[in-house]
Symmetry: C2
Subunit: 316 residues, 2 copies
Amino acid sequence: MENIPTLEHIRAAHERIRPFIHRTPVMSSELINAQAGCSIYFKCENFQKTGAFKIRGAHNAVLSLPATKISKGVGTHSSGNHAQALAKVAANVGCKAHIVMPESSPEVKINAVKDYGAEIYFCASTQQAREETLRSVLRDTGVTLIHPYDDYNIIAGQATVAVELIEEVPDLNILMVPVGGGGLLSGTCLAAAYLLPEAIVIAGEPEGADDAFRSLQMGMIHPSIEPNTIADGLLTSLSEKTFGIIQNHVHEIITVSDMEIIRAMRLVWERMKILIEPSAAVPLAAVLKRPGEFSGKRIGLILSGGNVDLGKFKFD
Amino acid sequence: MENIPTLEHIRAAHERIRPFIHRTPVMSSELINAQAGCSIYFKCENFQKTGAFKIRGAHNAVLSLPATKISKGVGTHSSGNHAQALAKVAANVGCKAHIVMPESSPEVKINAVKDYGAEIYFCASTQQAREETLRSVLRDTGVTLIHPYDDYNIIAGQATVAVELIEEVPDLNILMVPVGGGGLLSGTCLAAAYLLPEAIVIAGEPEGADDAFRSLQMGMIHPSIEPNTIADGLLTSLSEKTFGIIQNHVHEIITVSDMEIIRAMRLVWERMKILIEPSAAVPLAAVLKRPGEFSGKRIGLILSGGNVDLGKFKFD
C-alpha cells in the first residue's frame, strides 16, 4: 500500500486477518475505575494469539503480498513480539520466516520463534548489527522484508484493535495506547478519525524512550539514541509513515517513569487478575499520573501484550 | 439447611446470589491442551468478585439467615479468601462482619477485609487461638457464625460454580477441583451427580496438606496436623458435612508436590495470561502429573482464585 490506509483498507484488512486472530475481550475493573476517577475499558490484546496485537499487522502485511512473494518467504529483525508474530504468520500461511534476532534476546522468545519453525540469524545487539545482518539475509535469500511498523499494511492491521474496541464501546471520549515505533498508535489514530471523530487519541510513552514525545514537540523525527526502559516493547523510534499520521491526529503524548509503569502493571495484575507486559501498562500509568484530568471520562485503553519473562520478575 | 442440598436447593442458591456475583468466563488454551493431551475448560473464578469462588457460598449462607439474624451481624475466623468474602457480603447486605484473623495474615488481605468495613480481631496463628478468639467474639457480640465450609448453605453456594460450567460445556467427562476444607469439592460433587451423572469428579490436593487423600483411604476424617504447602488456600481439613458428600461421590484424589503446583501455575500465567493463586493450580498439576491418563478427555477444571501476594513472588 502506497498511501495512508482509508477506512475501506482497514475494513479489508480486518476481513483478511479475521480467521487468524482472536476477537479479544474488553474488560473493566470497578476498583481501578474508582482509583482513576473515570471509566476505563481495557481491550485485552494480551489474550491475542502470540500474546500481543502484533499478529494483526503481520498477518495483514504478509497476506497482502502476491502469492509468488509469499511462497519465497518473509524476513525481519526483532527481539520481541514482532518476531513471534511474523514466525506464527509464516507458519499459518505455509512459508518460511527468516528472523534476525540479537543474541541478547530472552530465551523464551527465541524458543517461541523456533517453535513456529522460523529460521533464526543471531547478531550483536546494536541497531547497526541488526540492520546489516538483515540486509545480507534479504540479499542471500530473496525473501520480502516485513517491517514491524513502517508499512501501511501493518498500520491497517493494527488499526483493527481500535475498530473492535469502538464497535464494542461506541461512546468513548478518549482512546489511549502505548507508543514505541508507532504502528499501534497510528492505526488507532486512523480508526478513531474514521469511526469516532469526536474522541481524542492520547499515547503513553516511557521517559527512557521518549522519541515520540520529543519528535512531536520539534515537528520532526528525533530517534531515541540509547533508549532505556522496563517497557521493552517500546524501545523503537517512530518512522516516516507512523510519524506522519501521528503528527496529524494525536492529541497528546504523556511520558511516564519506569516506577509509574511498574505500579500500573501491578495494579492490573492484582485487581484484574490478568498478566500484562510493562509496555501495556504505560497508558494506565499516564492516566494515574494526572489525577483529575480524566475525571468522568470514558477511556478505551489498549493493553498491547502480555509477554513477560516471569523468571526475571520480582515486584518488591 | 439440615440436609445435603438437593438440586432445587442449589438452583435456589444460584437465584439468591446471582445479583451479587459475576458469571465468570470459561477459557481454554491450545498450548496447554497440546501439552496435556486433553481438552481442558477452565472456569475462571479468579475473576470472581473478591478474587475467589468463596463469595458464592458466603452470600448464600448469609442471605439464607432470617432478617433478624442478618441485622445482628456475622462472624468467622479466616486468614484468607473466606474472610474477604464474608466482609464483602456483609457490606453488600448492610450488616457488620466480625472477622478473627491470625496476626500473621498477609497485610494485603487484612487491608482488603478492613476496606469492606469489617471488624477485625487479631489472634495468634494457631488453630486453637483462632477458635477460642472466635468463640469469645460470638459470645460477646451475639453475631451468627458463618463457617467457611462445614455448612450446607455454603456448599450449595459453591456448587453453583460447577452448575455454570456444566451449562456452558455440557459434554464434560471429568470435573476437577482443588480440595482444602472441601466446600468447593463437595458442591461440585453434588452438581455433577444431579446434572452430569456420567462425569466423574477428581480432586487435586497438595502433598503437604493431604488430609482428604488420607481420610478417603481410611474411611474416616484424618485432619492435617501441621499442613505445609505453597497452596495457602488448602491448609484446612475436611469437616463432617464435606467428608460425607465427598466420600460418596468423588472418584479420586491426586496429590501433587509444591514444585508441581508452581510449574502448573506458571504455565497458566505464561500461556493464558491470567493470574491464579497456587491453590488454583493444583488440579492442573494433577493432570500434568499423569501423562496419558487423561488422553482425549474433556475436563472442566475450576480455577478457584487469583489472590497472590505479588510482593512475595519469584519464579526462578
